[in-house]
């Protein structure tokens, strides 16, 4: 298969986006309509409560471990690295040895940060009680 240069290469992606953005919510609306007609709508209080243990749950603060945020922070660091490496990888052959050495320096700089995070224990899953 060969490439065909068109004026608007993203037109197809947009069409698919528009189609899915209409079709899937429309299906959900249709399902809502059908189930309203066929299924009994039970509005008992305990049944509408969130799924937990049986009795009606009392309101508690929902919170998640700070560990999750730590990994999200690490992701930002390394994903920026990858975004920087994509253009370099495409032009790997034209850039030659110079580009490769530059990238090794960049990776070494990142590896220092990575080893620091490793030694500090940021990559372990601590059980915080």
């Amino acid at each position: 298969m060969t490439h065909i240069v068109t004026e608007h290469p993203y037109f197809g992606a947009f069409v698919l986006f528009a189609l899915t953005a209409i079709a899937f919510p429309a299906t959900l609306v249709l399902q809502r309509f059908i189930s309203r007609k066929l299924a009994r709508l039970d509005t008992e209080k305990l049944k509408l409560a969130i799924y937990e243990c049986g009795p009606e749950p009392n309101k508690q603060a929902n919170s998640i471990s700070v560990q999750f945020y730590l990994f999200a922070l690490l992701f930002i660091l390394f994903d920026v690295e990858i975004v920087f490496m994509f253009p370099w990888a495409i032009d790997f052959k034209p850039l030659g040895v110079f580009g490769f050495v530059e990238m090794i320096l960049f990776i070494v700089l990142l590896a220092i940060g990575f080893i620091y995070a490793w030694v500090k224990g940021a990559l372990e899953w601590h059980s915080i009680k």
């Binding site: 490439h3 068109t6 197809g12 992606a13 998640i64 990994f71």
Partner: protein, 329 residues
């Protein structure tokens, strides 16, 4: 130009219809294959060999009670499944599904939009798919849902890094991000496949692909034994089913990506024509996912993070450096 517009719209509609049907068929296939691996029969009541089970499931999903728990953020709760399904299909826009063929005298190129950054587009769209489970879990005011969405965020983000790093080495060899160029690079038989030069990248890509499609060894977002059903705890009916359509479409996309990047894409394979070859490859990857689900237990969240950050990521960086050195020498 008119032909281009109409053709693109027809292709998009066909992809939407065929792949939603395939995703539904995937659920049947998964149940059947898992059943045979566990010496059961699987679904066999509805239709011949249980083939109409999908239809029965669809009718059931459509007629279920439309349930939204009290205290949920209703709008986000309702649109979150649509985000998962929609992003899974948009990702397929840049994937060349079959080789060029002629039908009724019209030359058809089975790719919806021929982007020069196709691979990046697919990876990015599958990354956006993270918002489906994330918003679903946060909208329902449920502790299990919140835990599930936190795990979603951590797992998808971490393995996004490994996916990106593992495909960098093939990109260095090919020098392009277009999946069509990947396919053309491997023209000329099995010996030209990239997998022989990049076996490590292939394994890394497959592992992170499983993690990103939420398949069983990394099935922590909806781990029944730990967090009920994770982000899908409060979901029922077609909203719940839409998460599955998204998941199965993502599985098919990962199969296409793996066979296009590493296994020669849709080049003819000996006497097998290209179109059939790629379908066989994607079916093999789909079957591999089911096989691994039957063979492997879940892993723990801390093991997941350990595997990603301490094993796979250093290996991927090492693979890039070795590839660079080999290509320089």
């Amino acid at each position: 130009m008119d032909g281009y517009i109409i053709g693109t719209i027809i292709k998009a509609v066909l992809i939407l219809l065929i792949l939603s049907a395939l995703a539904g068929f995937g659920t049947y296939l998964e149940r059947k294959v898992l059943a045979f691996m566990q010496r059961r029969l699987g679904p066999y009541h509805v239709g011949p060999y249980g083939l109409l089970q999908i239809l029965a499931d669809g009718i059931k999903l459509f007629t279920k009670e439309d349930f939204i728990p009290a205290g949920a953020n209703r709008i986000i709760f309702m649109i979150a499944p649509a985000i998962t399904a929609a992003t899974a299909f948009i990702a397929l826009a840049a994937v060349p599904l079959l080789p060029e063929f002629t039908i009724f005298g019209i030359k058809v190129r089975p790719i919806v939009s021929d982007l020069n950054i196709g691979l990046l587009f697919v990876i990015a769209m599958m990354g956006v798919g993270l918002y489906g489970p994330l918003l679903a879990g946060m909208a329902q005011e449920n502790k299990w849902g919140l835990l599930g969405s936190a795990r979603t965020a951590v797992q998808f983000l971490s393995y996004e890094v490994v996916t990106g790093l593992s495909i960098l080495a093939p990109i260095m060899m090919v020098g392009s991000l277009s999946l069509i160029d990947f396919n053309n690079y491997q023209a000329g038989g099995i010996s030209h496949w990239i997998i022989w030069k990049q076996p490590l990248a292939f394994i890394l890509f497959l592992i992170s692909g499983y993690a990103e499609t939420n398949r069983t060894p990394f099935d922590l977002l909806e781990h029944e034994a730990e967090i009920i059903s994770g982000y899908a705890t409060e979901y029922s009916g077609l909203r719940w089913g839409m998460f599955f359509i998204g998941e199965y479409t993502n599985m098919i996309t990962i199969g296409f990506l793996a066979s296009l990047i590493f296994l020669g894409g849709f080049n003819p394979l000996g006497f097998i024509p290209g179109g059939i070859a790629i379908i066989l490859k994607v079916s093999f990857f789909f079957f591999l996912m089911l096989w691994i689900r039957a063979a492997w237990p879940h892993i723990r969240p801390d093991q997941l993070m350990w595997l990603c950050w301490k094993v796979l990521m250093p290996l991927a960086v090492l693979n890039i450096l070795i590839t660079g050195i080999v290509m320089m020498v």
